[in-house]
């Protein structure tokens, strides 16, 4: 993976800071559009869930949780459905653009979790969660990061497939059948949302921990002073 790299050289002080172009434009665009879409879809989805907050029978109805209305979007079931059925297209389009771009440009090699990343997972887990030593950083994403981002894309695909099964249990009856029917597809859709939210939580913690230069790289593409050697 040829990453564009430069050295920022201050003529007066002679100070040299390396910088690498880590996030191509399409990836940045998709990231921020998707962040908005995900926010809207989760908020409106939880409002839709409030209309029947159960995965059991309608009679007798046993509510799973009384989800607070303040943590929802759309105001009422009809309003939330308008948001959900609008932003699902933005979400799907962004996902297709992202996956298409990654495959077409070859940029996926930077982030796709591969077999060779397997041995590096445990040392990173030990570092993050059990105060182990920090493994040397060699590239933009460490093996655990690749695993997280690759899983997130998988969850994104699952969220769309489970959503389609709920939206179209007749025309896409094979999809609903694969998920054990409409009734269960609704549960999978809900659980996939929580898995995505768990990823987002971990992601945000890492963004805070890794500081400003890392955060700005998702806006400008360029990461100043990367932890790994810029070739």
């Amino acid at each position: 993976m040829a990453t564009r790299a430069i050295a920022i050289e201050n003529g007066k002080t002679g100070e040299v800071t390396p910088a690498v172009y880590e996030h191509p434009f399409v990836v940045r665009l998709c990231h921020w559009v998707n962040a908005v879409a995900l926010f809207v879809l989760v908020g409106s989805g939880l409002q839709i869930f409030r209309a029947f907050p159960s995965f059991g029978a309608k009679i007798p109805q046993e509510n799973l949780i009384n989800w607070p209305k303040s943590l929802t979007l759309g105001g009422w079931l009809g309003g939330a459905l308008q948001w959900h059925l609008t932003f699902m297209w933005i979400y799907i389009a962004t996902g297709l653009l992202y996956i298409g771009y990654q495959l077409f440009s070859g940029n996926y090699k930077q982030v796709l979790f591969a077999r060779r990343d397997l041995p590096g997972v445990w040392p990173m887990v030990r570092h993050y969660f059990f105060f182990g030593p920090k493994p040397p950083t060699r590239e933009a994403y460490n093996p655990l990061q690749k695993h997280a981002y690759t899983s997130a894309i998988g969850l994104g695909v699952l969220s769309v497939l489970t959503g389609l099964a709920i939206w179209k249990p007749v025309q896409l009856s094979w999809l609903a059948w694969l998920m054990g029917g409409f009734h269960l597809a609704r549960l999978w859709h809900f659980l996939v949302m929580w898995a995505i939210l768990a990823f987002v939580f971990g992601h945000l913690v890492m963004v805070v921990l890794h500081g400003w230069n890392n955060f700005m790289s998702m806006f400008t593409g360029w990461k100043k002073d990367p932890e790994y050697p810029s070739k």
Binding site: N10, G11, L29, W32, Q82, P169, M216, F219, T220
Partner: protein, 239 residues
């Protein structure tokens, strides 16, 4: 070897890259109340268009064994239907009008004389719950043939004994599983389930399946879409 760059040049480079993201700001239009409504309407409209594209005339909704049926007493009745619309069953007729060759009042006996279809299908409510029920009735397509309906028209509209009303695209109206339903679980429809006649459409969401039918029209223009649709719900909502 990396190329070298002055800090000021790097700054303008990153600024240019940042400005490329301005299209994302367009999503902020959804935060502006005057723009939000038409945008969401367009989004819902696009979903309805996609729904109509996905609809296949020959594709049947899944049917189920009798053992999969939700017990009749566990088949929900919308709160909306608690009030008795006061249908006089002895005098009841279905009044037919619009683009048909034989308009007029049709009795339940005339509808029951059409070939009877019984099907175990899933009923999905927009709220998210679903049940599997057993429904019996005449194919709407057979009834439309009987009244000489213009099936090149775009819509079927129905009025109900309460203030409910609905509309149906012609493709769905002609679907072999779309019924003028007068039986549930092999018994005549009960008052709560829409006696004497309701729509039963396994390819549509629950609210499209109007109860207590009194009027049926064939036409190309919709003055109004449906009780819930006109409050902001999806117009097509095919499953």
């Amino acid at each position: 070897m990396p190329s070298r760059m002055e800090p000021s040049k790097f700054k303008s480079l990153t600024r240019r890259e940042l400005l490329k993201l301005t299209p994302v700001v367009a999503l902020g239009a959804f935060a502006i109340p005057q723009l939000r409504e038409p945008l969401l309407k367009a989004g819902l409209g696009f979903s309805d268009w996609a729904s109509a594209q996905l609809f296949r005339t020959g594709h049947l909704a899944p049917t189920f064994d009798d053992s999969d049926l939700t017990p009749f007493d566990k088949f929900p009745i919308n709160d909306y239907d608690v009030n008795d619309p006061g249908v006089d069953f002895d005098k009841w007729t279905l009044t037919v009008g619009g683009g048909v060759q034989k308009p007029g009042d049709y009795t339940l006996a005339q509808i029951q004389a059409l070939p009877k279809v019984t099907q175990n299908t899933r009923h999905v409510c927009v709220e998210g719950w679903d049940v599997i029920g057993r429904f019996g009735g005449a194919r709407l397509s057979d009834f439309l043939a009987m009244i000489g309906a213009d099936t090149t028209a775009r819509f079927i509209t129905v009025e109900c004994a309460d203030d409910y009303y609905e509309s149906l695209d012609m493709a769905t109206a002609m679907h072999p599983q779309t019924l003028l339903c007068y039986e549930m679980y092999d018994r005549p429809l009960t008052r709560e389930h829409g006696a004497p006649l309701r729509l039963q459409i396994p390819t549509k969401i629950g609210y499209k399946q109007a109860k207590y039918l009194t009027d049926l029209k064939v036409g190309n223009v919709l003055q109004k879409v449906g009780y819930w649709e006109d409050q902001g719900y999806s117009e097509f909502y095919g499953l």
